[in-house]
Amino acid sequence: MTLTLPKVQTAPALRTREAVIDCDIHNTIPDDKLLHPYLPARWRQHLDSFGIGFYSQGAYYPRQHMNAARTDAWPPGKIPGSDLDFLRAQLLDQWQIDYGLLNPLYLAGEQVIPDYADALATALNEWLIHHWLDPEPRLRACVIVNYEDGESAAAEIERRATDSRFVQVLLPARTREPLGRRKYWKMYEAAERHGLPVGIHFGGAGGWPITGAGWPSFYFEDHCGMPQSIQSQVISLVFEGVFDRFPDLKVVLIEGGFAWLPPLMWRLDRSWRLLRDEVPHLKRAPSEYIRQHFWFTTQPVEEPGTPEHFRQLLDQLNMDDRILFSTDYPHWDFDSPGMAIPGSVPKELRRKIMSENARALYKLE
């Protein structure tokens, strides 16, 4: 007699009809040479010799996963995030995603040679256009800039502002100075003028120890310690008066979770009430600035022990219109569109989180 064997299937299909917009995807370059057509000759040689990353920041914490990726996210023979077809199948189609926002983590601003940083930023944006945005209408992207040079960053923003597929400016959480400092203002001015939010994303290396109390030992701390770095940036942006200066500037906090935000708002308000003489340029309480100017992505979503605590968190936060779902594909701490947001979240709020808030912020159809 014969018998039939069942077919292997790699992942269950998502059975949902809800709209999903993914506000944080990390596409990658399969081969640095892809950037050559977009780089001046002077920098092609440098790229071939030294690559894109910086070689001696001291901020190396080996990830637990190769390429920090889900082990099932490797296209055959390629690195995770580098193959558009694979990404379409495993992410966009798998989860029926309406739009995905690309935040490739090539931080031009980490480069210490200023001209190289400028050239890389321009080249990376060209690569995004030709290899990702042109072929896939569901994708949008951030503008990669040399964020450590406000004028250069502003020029690159100008260059991309007319392409409506660039919806955000990418900054990392760890920079050479706190992001509220004046050196970054020209960049904010350009972003504000063109209606582009700035996204402050997990990562970066500004040449400092990755905590305010020195270098920790473990990748655990590099990864789990990012909320502290992001919080410092929030503090800086508020207290430096960036939002008084740029009243239409929007900021998105990406890949830091968000459960720390209510107690941070309480602490900043108290600090301001007591120390406001030092910062007379602030016209309102810090929490008011935060509520007006900030959005944040969900991943890696915190997982309190009880659904009731998650409900309390959302209630304390009271920023229902500012929460943006994200997967962080293809990274290992990927949040599943089907399961990451607790089922106990009311339907109306879930719809906002999963797509409507992003649709409004990034002006998507």
Partner: protein
Amino acid sequence: MSKHIVATVNEIPVGGRKLVEIEGRSIGVFNLGGEFFALKSRCPHQGGPLCEGKVGSLVEADVPGAYTLSRPGEMLRCPWHSWEFDIRTGQSWWHPARMRVAQYPVTVEDGAALESAGWQKGPYVAETFRVEVNQQYLLVEINP
């Protein structure tokens, strides 16, 4: 309860695994030193394809820096968030009592027994082969 043939015994070498689908469930069948275990390939955390994950030793340390390894090849780590599961029991390492992945009994039966006993076809036609009386087959039992 229904039993499904998923492989011949010699298809899954020691240390190997086979991924199958039975009645809508993705299942991984593992060979630990000649014993067979089947786990649902869906991580209870966020539904990741658990049985595609890397397999390794149990890692412990009594004090900082004192790494000790045991049970080589018996800990399965989810491809996504790396939650660790004991292949033998399906229990998660971080909360064995409460967090676990479904396990299915695996039995070995020979072709002669299958000819007369009850068995069921899988839902998809992907591979067909003859049941031979001198071969041994792995069967996974599920609660439909």
